[in-house]
């Protein structure tokens, strides 16, 4: 009995010690004004994920050559472990000086107070506006977009010709008519390979919504239940109800094989698919397909992804860290990085380099990037996106009512909040 009483007393003590401190009226964090002149010095630790982590040291040799007194150590982290490693490091205040940061993590890390605001001497106008948007959390920018990717419509030129289409369509109706013609005249089983819901399907749905003038949020409020959004989702749904797209693909199906064998001669995806389909298609396949901009409703919009680079508040060597970030944003370094990694430059002037401009497919990506949009950098976005994906799945697979589904997403999103 006595023990229980003691335990309860301790628990009561612990609980009374809890509770959030009252929100101090926090002023927007001020950007550390400028980056000092002169070369970078001291030691820097950098974290980067995946192939980028393995490739980055090759690029940084040039930085070390230009700044002889700096020593940069790159730690490569696998993507699967990266998020945990970052949050643990932030909690323990053992962050690197700077790191590659997934665009969807910005809201969370900035919310944890881990990131240093971008100095004003970094020019935001040098970057694609959509990509720059991924660095901004509550109006303050934390870091730079390092490399980008966006989504285009891939299509088989040979089969399109068979279907009687020689100039790619530019609007919604045209896209659907083309997919239908692929089915009717070019012998394709499915006109276009669209993802019927499931993880990440919002990346294919939202470009249509954005092109129709819909927005995901208005300030701190989610806006899923707007007429513009509804119209776009209904358009997306019609591909499945009209039998143009497969509503029951096999689990974990990839787009390449059916694109190459012509059974699904169109799909929407990012730049990495160029090498993927050419690998499956073999020699000469590069001439059998092309890419076109997302069809226009009010505008032509797409999704912009990629990764950012940010400096951590705990860094003891912030000046050198920002110098490295600034260096990474130089157009010629961005081109060099493209050649090393095939990651697309986030700095628009880098696209004038012949290495990128001479490739017509690549140039189409460059054009689309001008208008590509990123989702809001809320810490809760991935959670909301998962709910959106689940409703898209109902809409495409079971023909569920679009407006009812969007209302569900809206109420779920509002109850999840924006995490701020």
């Amino acid at each position: 009995m006595k023990k229980i009483a003691t335990a309860l007393a301790v628990l009561a003590l612990v609980l009374t010690g809890c509770g959030r401190p009252a929100d101090n009226p926090s002023a927007a964090p001020q950007a550390s004004s400028t980056i000092a002149a002169g070369p970078a010095t001291g030691e820097l630790t950098v974290w980067a994920m995946g192939a980028e982590g393995e490739n980055l040291p090759n690029l940084l040799k040039d930085f070390e050559a230009a700044n002889p007194d700096v020593k940069v150590t790159v730690t490569a982290i696998p993507w699967s472990a990266a998020h945990d490693k970052f949050t643990t490091a932030i909690t323990a205040q053992k962050t690197p000086d700077l790191a590659m940061i997934g665009t969807t993590w910005m809201g969370e890390f900035a919310g944890l107070g881990a990131l240093d605001p971008t100095p004003s001497s970094i020019d935001k106008n040098a970057f694609f506006p959509g990509a720059w948007g991924t660095t901004e959390v509550n109006g303050t920018s934390y870091g730079i977009p390092w490399y980008v990717e966006t989504r285009l419509v891939y299509y088989r030129t040979d089969l399109a010709e068979k279907a009687g289409i020689t100039t790619p369509p530019t609007d919604w109706d045209g896209l659907k008519a083309m997919a239908k013609a692929m089915q009717d005249k070019a012998g394709a089983k499915w006109g276009i390979n669209l993802q019927p819901g499931g993880t990440g399907s919002w990346q294919t749905v939202m470009p249509f919504a954005w092109s129709n003038g819909a927005q995901l949020n208005n300030g701190d409020a989610w806006t899923f239940d707007t007429p513009q959004m509804s119209e776009a989702v209904k358009y997306y749904q019609s591909f499945f109800t009209e039998g143009i797209s497969n509503k029951a693909p096999a689990a974990n199906e990839t787009a390449e094989p059916s694109f190459v064998d012509g059974s699904q001669p169109m799909f929407i995806s990012g730049p990495w698919m160029m090498s993927a389909v050419e690998k499956v298609g073999g020699k000469g396949f590069a001439d059998k397909y092309s890419v076109m901009a997302m069809p226009t409703r009010q505008t032509s919009a797409s999704f912009v992804g990629g990764s950012n680079f940010g400096v951590f508040k705990n860094s003891q060597n912030k000046d050198a860290a920002w110098k490295l970030v600034q260096w990474l944003a130089q157009p010629e370094v961005q081109v060099k990085w493209y050649q090393l990694s095939t990651d697309l430059p986030s700095v628009s002037s880098a696209w004038q380099d012949p290495a990128l401009a001479s490739d017509t497919k690549l140039a189409t990506f460059g054009t689309q990037l001008q208008t590509a949009v990123a989702p809001p950098s809320f810490a809760t976005w991935e959670q909301v996106a998962a709910r959106f994906d689940a409703e898209i799945e109902k809409v495409t697979k079971t023909g569920a009512d679009v407006d009812a589904s969007l209302k569900t997403v809206q109420s779920e999103a509002q109850s999840i909040g924006t995490g701020s």
Binding site: A248, P249, E393, K397, T398, G419
Partner: protein
């Protein structure tokens, strides 16, 4: 220190010398201290790595802890059972609970039946190459789920998969196993049974071999046929083994996670999302309070199911 004088027993018992008394009883405080000192390493480790996480997660489940609170784990609001209410009213959580129940109620009996069948076959029927079969049946248990998942995805391909090709030979049009919400869970159950019956089989085999041959012989002399001998002698004697296998299998299945995680990501239409996987997702979103509450709900279900099994399968009373 003063040793309390024991009232001398009347005659029979010899009085113990003080040293012996101290060693055998609760005498010497110095020794108590030594015992505590010796126990400290374990106590500290146990407290830090076992008790504390349990206390903290339980505490977390009653608060609105989110990922951003990690640095200041105590400056969170105590919100009572709100997380539990939220979990139980979340339609996806309810769906996950129903999926888990489906998986357990169909999967556990099926796994036990297949395991017992294989064990009996290995014990009685198959005499040649017995160890080869035993190894073969057990191999899925020790194979990495990731590798297995890749192979099973090929097998379950709707158009070119092995399973539907074989069904096609008999004129059966196989379904889109993992892509159809009605068939995705049966597919995962099938895979889970295949993957897990080996463990049960090994344990049943040990149980079968401990059934005394003399009992079988006596029953045979009395004219019992093979089935009667199995049902009236072998099966009752296997009860403790059955209890053990069913409890461990059920506990494992109640937490099933890997199959949907690698095969279907919970889809299509949430038809294969499990309680553990949904909880894992919530942790991933940083909703630590809610996820902790979900974990404790799963814990309660496991405890109740296990208690029920003990009740149903305990020795005849």
């Amino acid at each position: 220190m003063s040793t309390p004088t024991l009232a001398a027993p009347v005659g029979q018992r010899p009085t113990l010398s003080p040293e012996v008394r101290a060693r055998s009883g609760r005498g010497h405080p110095g020794e108590g201290r030594a015992a505590w000192i010796l126990a400290i390493p374990f106590t500290v480790l146990f407290a830090a790595f076992t008790v504390w996480p349990v206390v903290q997660s339980l505490f977390m489940s009653f608060t609105d802890t989110r990922q951003r609170d990690l640095r200041t784990p105590f400056s969170v609001n105590f919100i009572g059972v709100d997380n539990y209410v939220r979990a139980l009213t979340d339609p996806v959580f309810v769906k996950a609970a129903a999926n888990t129940a489906y998986f357990v109620l169909v999967g556990v009996p099926l796994t036990l039946a297949v395991a017992l069948l294989a064990a009996v076959a290995l014990d009685k029927g198959i005499t040649r190459l017995r160890s080869v079969y035993r190894l073969g049946f057990y191999t899925p248990v020790i194979t990495s789920i990731v590798a297995v998942a890749v192979v099973w995805r090929f097998i379950l391909q709707p158009e070119s998969g092995l399973l539907n090709t074989v069904l096609g030979w008999f004129g059966v049009q196989g379904p889109n196993w993992l892509g159809d919400p009605a068939w995705s869970m049966p597919s995962l159950i099938m895979m889970a049974v295949w993957r897990n019956f080996g463990t049960g089989m090994i344990i049943f085999l040990a149980g079968l071999q401990s059934v005394p041959y003399s009992l079988q012989e006596a029953a045979a002399i009395d004219g019992a046929n093979g089935w009667q001998r199995f049902w009236n002698i072998t099966f009752p004697l296997l009860r403790p083994t059955l209890l053990f296998v069913s409890v461990t299998t059920a506990v494992g299945y109640l937490q099933f996670f890997e199959e949907p995680f690698v095969m279907t990501s919970g889809g299509p239409l949430n038809s294969t999302i499990s309680l553990s996987m949904y909880t894992y997702n919530q942790f991933g979103y940083g909703n630590y309070g809610l996820a902790a509450a979900m974990s404790y709900l799963i814990f309660v279900v496991i405890a109740v199911v296990t208690a029920l099994q003990f009740r149903l399968l305990r020795e005849n009373t």
